[in-house]
Symmetry: D2
Subunit: 141 residues, 4 copies
């Protein structure tokens, strides 16, 4: 059994993303997950911006996140995303957020793991089936 292919993005933590605890405010990791998911979709088929213009919205239906270690300002971050499951109306994405290695640091450190289930909506915001070509594109990443 093979592991699903992952898409990764890399960026640095913004000052605006920190809070007074001196670490990244927890809700911001969800934004990073969404950025990684956007990139996964872009690489496998139509961009999410194109999907929306074609009348397919993907709305987040549920979220689970686990925080292992905090990210800090200016840290180099990698956010990885892959597909856990595709059904007729929903797609479940999984995520791993890592701090990239520093010069004196052997390996990336896992900061957050997460899952989000997205449901397909039409422009009327009612549930609809995922277009077959989108399913095909996502499955063949």
């Amino acid at each position: 059994m093979s592991t699903p292919p992952r898409t990764a993005i890399e960026f640095r933590v913004r000052y605006a993303e920190t809070d007074q605890m001196g670490v990244v405010y927890h809700a911001n990791y969800l934004v990073w997950c969404e950025m990684a998911r956007t990139e996964l979709i872009r690489q496998r088929g139509p961009s999410y911006a194109e999907l929306e213009r074609d009348g397919v919205l993907l709305a987040v239906a549920d979220v689970s996140m686990r925080f292992h270690s905090p990210a800090r300002y200016d840290d180099p971050i990698r956010a990885e995303s892959w597909i856990e499951e595709i059904r007729s109306r929903t797609v479940t994405f999984a995520y791993e957020i890592l701090r990239l290695e520093d010069p004196g640091n052997a390996a990336p450190e896992r900061l957050v793991t997460a899952q989000t289930r997205l449901i397909a909506l039409g422009h009327d915001t009612r549930p609809r089936k995922l277009p077959p070509e989108l399913i095909h594109a996502l499955e063949n990443g």
Copy 2:
């Protein structure tokens, strides 16, 4: 068996909290959960601001959220919070986010349900036990 007492806050959706789908961006519900949790803590004992000054940080360790219906700009919102479980080092809070009734609307509509488990940290950001007086205050809400 009794249901745990709830603390509620009320406010309106900010324009900044919407996204181009015309609804509240999903990560913002986590901010509302934290506001409700802050109010619960304030009403039962020391404010969270005081807790931090006394060397007790509460860091979010995991999150689960389910999205039932979206909030929109300027909607009147109620965010309710209660305690699910207290252990020596962690507290689990639960949340229900509702749209308040409109004139022509019989009852508040449930938008989001969520749970967050928080872990106590000292100012050195290492895990520590919850202070007994905090446990006592939270238990007797």
Copy 3:
């Protein structure tokens, strides 16, 4: 010569609004200005949500802000807004953001002063004239 009437909103600083300097991240004051402006419009005529549904968008064209003293987590805040100038296509709002008095504190402390000029757009996002009834409502606050 009379001073223009002011609209005020009050709220507490959210944890999410702080940054690692231990104070409110500067861009968030713009969100508070917009909340105060929204309330001013609501009190004087149609709500901004209604305006948008009627095809009048008000887009921010320029901003100036001066930071006098920082707001901190959980501070009680008042954001005041008033109209500086109305022209056929633009409205200029001014703002004063204050920390409300503490028990041992004589008077509110001025934190931020700001101005924003907004330009009226149609749903096609092209500039348009402000509807006369909106001008009338805003002028008679």
Copy 4:
């Protein structure tokens, strides 16, 4: 007379940065300005993260921004920053935010221009002089 050297960063607009008008919420451009400023400081001397650890905070004292054209979700953006003026206690940065050219688009389009004046504070948050080596590094960009 020479024009000051510019530092640029490039990134894509995040979904979280849009609002229900379908464009980037105006306060977010200030975050982009700060990211460009951070990069300018990093390239010319100590990183801002190092500066803070050494006891020099740079707090925003005033802001002016002009909005020429809106950014949209997933747009490729370039944020440029340069130094307008250095004084003993303050540095004024200027910014230009551009949408990068599309295949069928001759040149980047100017979206926002801005200026921010920053004031040096010590860890006690009282004004202090800029360290001479920081002035030197910034001047010789």
